[in-house]
C-alpha cells in the first residue's frame, strides 16, 4: 500500500517538475515577491513597509498557489483518463484510494515546496529589515515589538465608567516575559470625519488599586490606536485594571468619546517569535491548499480537465461569495433598503428564496473551513496558536479532504475509465 501510494506521489511530483510546472511557478512567485519587496513603500517606515509586504505577499502567494494547485489537481486525474495513461495504472493491483491519495500527496508536496520558497523569502525579508534598522530607534522598536513578533491578544472586559473614566478588567496570560512591550489596542466611534486627535490618560492598575503604569496619550478618532506598555511594569500581577480618562483640550476637541462596540480593547502580549508564527501561517495556508487539491482531484474524476477546472473554480467562488450574499440579505440591510424606496413593496420571488437557501446552506457547510484567516494576523504580529493549526489540519485535511477523497474514490470506482465523458 505504502509502496504504491508513494510511487504514484513520486510520479506526480516528477511530472510537475519535468513539465516545468514547478520551475515556472517558482520564478513567478519569486518575481511577485521581489516585485512587492522592491516597490512597496508603506508609510515610509521600515515597520510599515514590512507590514505591507507581509500582508500583500501572503495574500498573493495564497491566491497564486491556490489557483496553481487547483489547476494541477484538476488535470491530474482527468488528463490521464483522457489520454488513457491511467489504463496502465488501474489494471495494476492499485486500489482507487491509493491512486487518489498518491496523486493528492504528490500535488500537496509540490505546493508545500513552493510555500517553503515563499516562506523562506519572507523570513529573509524580515531578517534583513531587522538588520537594517537601529534597534533603539522608534522604527526599529516598532519593527521588533509589533511586527517581527508573535503576540497573543487578550480582550479586556468593559466594567463601566466611573467619574468620566472608562474602565476595563483583563486577565494576564500565564507566562509573561520581562522583556519587551505589550501593546494596548483600542478604537473609537467617530461620527464625523477628520476629527482632530484627542488626548487622554491611560492608567494600568492591579485589581487592588496599585498603579503599575500610567501615561498620557494622543489618540486618533478614526483608526486603531496603539499604546506600548513595558512588560517589566506588568510582571507582578495576574489581572489588570485599565482606565481611560479623556482630557479635553479646549475648543473644538471632543468632550466625550465612545469606544467602538465591535472592536474590543485588547492587550497584545508577546508570546513567540516571528519565524514560528510565519511557519504556522504557512501551515494554515498549506491546509487550505491541500483542500483545494482534494477538490480538484475529486472533480477531475468525473469531468474532463477544462470542465473540472471550471466546476472547481465555480465552487470555490460560490463558497466565497456565499458569505457576502448572506450579509447583504441580513435584516438590517433589507430594512435600509426599504427605507430608501417607500413605495416599493418588496417581493421575494421563489428564485431569490432558493438562491438564499442555497447560499445559506453553502455558507453553513463551508463555515468551518473558512474560519481560518491568516493574512492580516501575520502582518500585525498576532500569534497563530498551534492549537489553531491542529484544528485547521483536522478540519480541512481530515474532514473536508477526507470526505472529498471518499467521494472521488467512489466515483472512480463506478465510472468506466476507458469511456471519455
Amino acid at each position: 500500500m505504502r509502496n504504491r501510494i508513494l510511487g504514484i506521489a513520486g510520479l506526480t511530483i516528477r511530472q510537475a517538475i519535468r513539465s516545468r510546472f514547478v520551475i515556472s511557478l517558482f520564478f513567478l512567485l519569486l518575481a511577485l515577491l521581489a516585485g512587492f519587496a522592491l516597490t512597496i513603500k508603506g508609510d515610509g517606515t521600515a515597520a510599515g513597509r514590512l507590514q505591507m509586504l507581509l500582508s500583500y505577499a501572503m495574500g498573493s502567494v495564497g491566491v497564486v498557489l491556490g489557483i496553481a494547485t487547483l489547476w494541477l489537481a484538476c488535470g491530474s486525474l482527468s488528463i490521464e483518463i483522457e489520454n488513457r495513461r491511467i489504463h496502465l495504472v488501474v489494471v495494476k493491483p492499485v486500489r482507487t484510494i491509493e491512486l487518489w491519495l498518491g496523486k493528492w500527496l504528490g500535488i500537496i508536496s509540490v505546493a508545500m515546496l513552493l510555500l517553503l520558497v515563499a516562506g523562506l523569502f519572507l523570513g529573509v525579508a524580515g531578517h534583513i529589515a531587522r538588520g537594517r534598522s537601529h534597534p533603539d530607534s522608534p522604527d526599529g522598536r516598532a519593527l521588533r515589538d509589533r511586527i517581527l513578533v508573535a503576540r497573543q491578544a487578550v480582550s479586556a472586559t468593559r466594567v463601566g465608567s466611573q467619574d468620566g473614566a472608562a474602565h476595563w478588567l483583563l486577565a494576564c496570560p500565564a507566562a509573561v516575559s520581562a522583556q519587551g512591550v505589550a501593546t494596548l489596542r483600542y478604537r473609537f466611534v467617530a461620527h464625523l470625519r477628520d476629527l482632530p486627535p484627542v488626548t487622554g490618560r491611560w492608567t494600568v492598575r492591579t485589581p487592588d488599586g496599585a498603579t503599575l503604569f500610567e501615561t498620557d496619550c494622543i489618540a486618533s478618532m478614526d483608526g486603531v490606536n496603539q499604546l506600548d506598555i513595558p512588560l517589566a511594569a506588568l510582571r507582578s500581577t495576574t489581572a489588570l485594571d485599565l482606565i481611560f480618562h479623556l482630557q479635553p483640550a479646549g475648543e473644538g476637541t471632543p468632550q466625550h468619546v465612545t469606544f467602538h462596540p465591535r472592536h474590543d480593547v485588547v492587550l497584545l502580549f508577546p508570546c513567540g517569535t516571528f519565524a514560528g508564527n510565519l511557519m504556522r501561517a504557512l501551515l494554515l495556508m498549506f491546509c487550505q491548499v491541500a483542500l483545494l487539491a482534494a477538490l480538484g482531484l475529486t472533480v477531475g474524476t468525473i469531468f474532463t480537465f477544462p470542465v473540472a477546472m471550471f466546476t472547481a473554480s465555480a465552487l470555490v467562488l460560490a463558497t466565497l461569495f456565499a458569505q457576502f450574499f448572506v450579509f447583504s440579505s441580513a435584516p438590517e440591510r433589507s430594512h435600509a433598503h426599504e427605507h430608501h424606496h417607500h413605495d416599493d413593496v418588496t417581493h421575494v420571488t421563489w428564485t431569490e428564496t432558493v438562491g438564499e437557501h442555497l447560499a445559506v446552506g453553502l455558507r453553513f457547510a463551508m463555515a468551518p473551513a473558512l474560519r481560518y484567516r491568516i493574512n492580516g494576523r501575520l502582518a500585525a504580529g498576532e500569534t497563530i496558536p498551534w492549537t489553531e493549526v491542529h484544528d485547521c489540519a483536522g478540519i480541512l485535511i481530515f474532514c473536508y479532504s477526507g470526505l472529498l477523497c471518499a467521494l472521488g474514490c467512489l466515483m472512480l470506482k463506478r465510472r468506466e475509465i476507458a469511456l471519455p465523458v
Binding site: 504504491r4 510511487g7 510520479l11 516528477r14 488501474v90 492499485v94 468506466e416 476507458a418
Partner: protein, 303 residues
C-alpha cells in the same frame, strides 16, 4: 487448481456504447463466448473495429459489460488479487512521456509492490531483453513507436504474469522485432504463461496461436484450434529436394496415373519476412540495438 485449468471464462459478453443521452450508438461486442485454458496462446482476430480492444478492456475492468459475465483467473476483473497476476499491453503506447524506461519500469514495479531490489533486477533484465538498454535513460516521449512498444511489452512482463493480455503486440514493430516477440511469446507459453492476443495481421499470429476466434462486427464468426481451422484434408503437399528434368518427368508421369487432374509443380520461395531476417542477420555483424534483443528471455521469467 479449482479453476480446473480454465484461466478465463466469458459468457455472452455484450457491449453497447451509448451517447450522452443514453441512446445506443454501436454494439461493439455482441454475445461473445470465450474459454481460455492455462498455457495456451489464444488469438482474438478480426478486422479493424470488430470489437477486439473493447473485449479486452472489459476483461480488464476498463469497461463494464452491458451484458454477460466474466470470470478471469477465478475472480472478477475488478479484484486487486486478480490484477496482480495479469500483464497488459494496450493497443497504443500509454506510457508517461516524461519518464525514462528505467523509471517507467520502476514505477509500474512499485504498483506491483515488488521490493526495491527485485524491482531493480527485473528492470535491468527486461531492458536487456527488449534491447532498450542503450535508451534506458532517455525520455519515453522521444521514442519511436516500436521502441515504445518494446517498453510496453516489458512493463507487461514485470510481474511474471500468469495471464498475458496483448492488444496488437506486433503493431509498430519491425520484422526483427516481430519475430523476437513471437519467439518470446512461444517460449513464455511453453513455460505455462497463458496468452491472449489480438491482431488484424494474420501472418503475425498464424504461427503462434493455438486457438483463435475470428470476430466481425462484434460477433464471433469462427472459432477453434488453428490446425483444425486451417486444415485442408482434400489436398496435400510433397516437399523434396529439387530433381533433375528426367526424374521430374518420371515422377509426374507416375502422379498423373494416380490423379484425375494434372499435378502442379512449383518451387517454394522464402517469404519476405524470412528473407528480410536473413539479410539483416548477415548485415549485422555487430549487433545494433534493434537486434540486440536476442532470443534470450529475462532470467526472472524462466521459472
Amino acid at each position: 487448481m479449482t479453476e480446473n485449468n480454465t484461466i478465463l471464462d466469458v459468457v455472452k459478453l455484450t457491449k453497447i456504447f451509448r451517447d450522452f443521452w443514453r441512446r445506443p450508438t454501436v454494439t461493439a461486442v455482441d454475445g461473445l463466448d470465450l474459454s481460455i485454458r492455462r498455457g495456451e496462446i489464444f488469438g482474438l482476430l478480426g478486422p479493424n473495429g470488430s470489437g477486439k480492444s473493447t473485449t479486452i478492456k472489459m476483461l480488464l475492468g476498463l469497461l463494464h459489460p452491458t451484458e454477460g459475465s466474466i470470470s478471469i483467473l477465478g475472480g472478477r476483473p475488478s479484484d486487486v488479487a486478480v490484477r496482480k497476476r495479469i500483464g497488459y499491453l494496450p493497443e497504443a503506447s500509454y506510457l508517461y512521456r516524461y519518464l525514462t524506461p528505467r523509471e517507467t519500469l520502476s514505477f509500474y514495479g512499485r504498483l506491483f509492490d515488488l521490493p526495491a531490489a527485485e524491482r531493480r533486477r527485473r528492470t535491468e533484465e527486461l531492458l536487456a531483453m527488449t534491447g532498450l538498454e542503450s535508451a534506458a535513460d532517455r525520455a519515453v516521449g522521444e521514442f519511436s513507436k516500436g521502441m515504445a512498444r518494446r517498453l510496453g511489452l516489458a512493463q507487461a512482463l514485470l510481474n511474471a504474469p500468469e495471464l498475458l493480455i496483448l492488444d496488437e503486440p506486433t503493431s509498430g514493430l519491425d520484422p526483427m522485432g516481430c519475430r523476437q516477440v513471437k519467439e518470446l511469446l512461444r517460449a513464455l507459453a511453453d513455460q505455462g504463461t497463458t496468452i491472449l492476443l489480438t491482431s488484424h495481421l494474420l501472418a503475425d499470429v498464424e504461427h503462434i496461436c493455438d486457438r483463435v476466434v475470428i470476430m466481425y462486427n462484434g460477433r464471433p464468426r469462427a472459432a477453434g484450434a488453428l490446425q483444425d481451422l486451417l486444415a485442408t484434408p482434400e489436398r496435400m503437399t510433397l516437399d523434396l529436394p529439387a530433381l533433375d528434368a528426367a526424374a521430374t518427368k518420371r515422377l509426374l508421369a507416375v502422379l498423373r496415373e494416380q490423379l484425375a487432374c494434372e499435378p502442379e509443380l512449383s518451387r517454394p520461395t522464402m517469404n519476405l519476412e524470412e528473407f528480410f531476417v536473413r539479410v539483416v542477420n548477415e548485415a549485422a555483424e555487430d549487433p545494433s540495438p534493434a537486434n540486440a534483443a536476442g532470443p534470450h528471455m529475462a532470467p526472472f521469467l524462466k521459472q
